[in-house]
Symmetry: C2
Subunit: 365 residues, 2 copies
Amino acid sequence: MTAATFTFELIAQQGHARAGVFHTPHGAIPTPVFAPVGTQATVKAVTPAQLQEISASLILANTFHLYLRPGDELVAEMGGLHRFMNWPGPILTDSGGFQVFSLEENRKVDEDGVTFKSHIDGSTHRFTPEKAISIQENLGADIIMAFDECAPPYDRPYNESAMARTHAWAERCLNASHRTDQALFGIVQGGVFPDLREASAQLIASLNCPGNAIGGLSVGETKKEMHAMLDIVLSILPAEKPRYLMGVGTPEDLIDGVLRGVDIFDCVLPTRLARHNAAITKTGRLNLVNAAFARDPLPIDPECICYTCLHYSRAYLHHLIVAREMLSATLLSIHNLYTLIRLMQDIRQAIIEQRLNEFAQKVSI
Amino acid sequence: MTAATFTFELIAQQGHARAGVFHTPHGAIPTPVFAPVGTQATVKAVTPAQLQEISASLILANTFHLYLRPGDELVAEMGGLHRFMNWPGPILTDSGGFQVFSLEENRKVDEDGVTFKSHIDGSTHRFTPEKAISIQENLGADIIMAFDECAPPYDRPYNESAMARTHAWAERCLNASHRTDQALFGIVQGGVFPDLREASAQLIASLNCPGNAIGGLSVGETKKEMHAMLDIVLSILPAEKPRYLMGVGTPEDLIDGVLRGVDIFDCVLPTRLARHNAAITKTGRLNLVNAAFARDPLPIDPECICYTCLHYSRAYLHHLIVAREMLSATLLSIHNLYTLIRLMQDIRQAIIEQRLNEFAQKVSI
């Protein structure tokens, strides 16, 4: 199914951490990598040109949202997602599973799939593994995801049945996918239960996908539990393939993940924080709506070299926020995304130079 | 008062239309020119880098808004408006007069100035000619405007008294202005009354400002009346200095103004239309929220070479609008601003090449 267009080169390792390159039909992704999220075929408030300036290499778009609006067939008609949203680099689409299962009252699951109501107009829809693949083939991302069920982390019976469905659905997704220019990743589930996580990682690894993902983390469990699950799963997932920790996260989570052997991350956090006036810095978050910044001539982070920090004071950003100017979301998104992308670049270099421990101690982000 | 830093070179003329260059401390402005409006020290939804990409040379900011928020003293403390908003090129500030007199119920005029209530917090403030200059000196724009009173166009008694105040205030502004790196422009008023416009143009011309402006047009009068007033005023204002038609406007108004001898224009129209989903094209306006564009693979204007038209379909822009994504305002603002800036570049070239009549007939914008 997946052609040799997808290869993963491991450049360097230190402990469990890896520096690599994942080759895709739309370009190479240096790993570890943080992927900005473009839910509705746009990373909110920034242009693709601005994403390229901050060296974004991989971006994520959401199958669930694009299926509902504008529709995957329309995107296909417009030449696919890369052309539609003007992103020439690699794209990853999720399977829609996470969003569908988040609908709670408005969805009904059976062994074959899920029936749900649209949050936009209340209309009824149905996702099956085959449908999730068909939508993702229409969208045309480089990396596509198996249709999975993410259960509440502490509910054991639910996690057992959701995991079983996730495994059965992953096989159906593999059988349903036909495009040789898309890499289908399987997803490990299992909540906070070590034996379930182990079983899930073994089964997903056995499917021999070109990459593997870890779902159902950072969804309400403790950090300690997340780390324990990562350690189990990452000891089983094949080292020669990229490992993707879905929906994570904070700078601390990214570092923790890399140290354990994760290669790919995505999260809405940097752009969502930006729209809520918060900037990510090495010494914590700044909320620029705070009056303390009204006369502050410093940039968000005096050591940062993003467009925002090179050109704008906290006082100006505070003014934009108070005056409700859209530019604040753009400038803060650029800074927050750059901060996480740069963190991954720096940690990658530290792995290559075998100085990861020193790096991880120094970075207090 | 004004040093030799401000010089106006006339490169070519055809009929009343002129192609020139106005030199300022922050760079040269090729004229005729359309200035994007950055009311609150930001051209809404676009970055200065994006403005430079579309060859914006002059931008406008509003004294009234910046005085109220964040305050002109704060802007001065942050190094002035150029540095605060990261615009390295020429800036023009209006005097605040237009906004203050628009407050109607919330302002009281006397011969010395105007007392008004803030639309933000209801606090009481007072503008005099000296205060308007002091604020504009704090902001530090290259071109600053005399404090004027814009009366309803058809009210003769009001126009007579407002014009008298405007003239007295222009002289007080000249006496109050001290910075040699700012060019103070006087403003002609007089409603739709030929004799008042003539008297006003003569008095303002006699002040020997480095440039002159025409206010009180495009405020409710007919096109025919606007053109008649322009013809009178432009026959009197000195030809060797730039002439600025304030708050105008549409592509048709820009062409009509250039043909009559106007050099500088500003208007919120292109960015405001963008935020209301409308694109300016050579064949009229497109409102991209219209379902007719949902599957339209064409760019807004197939002949346009702006970032938006080179990279995005109408279908994508329609999707962004329906999905309420901020990027639509950015992409439409870039296109609309570029369309007017390019129109001015093209008309300038036509004047230089003495083919203005042909050009004006061909352009059906």
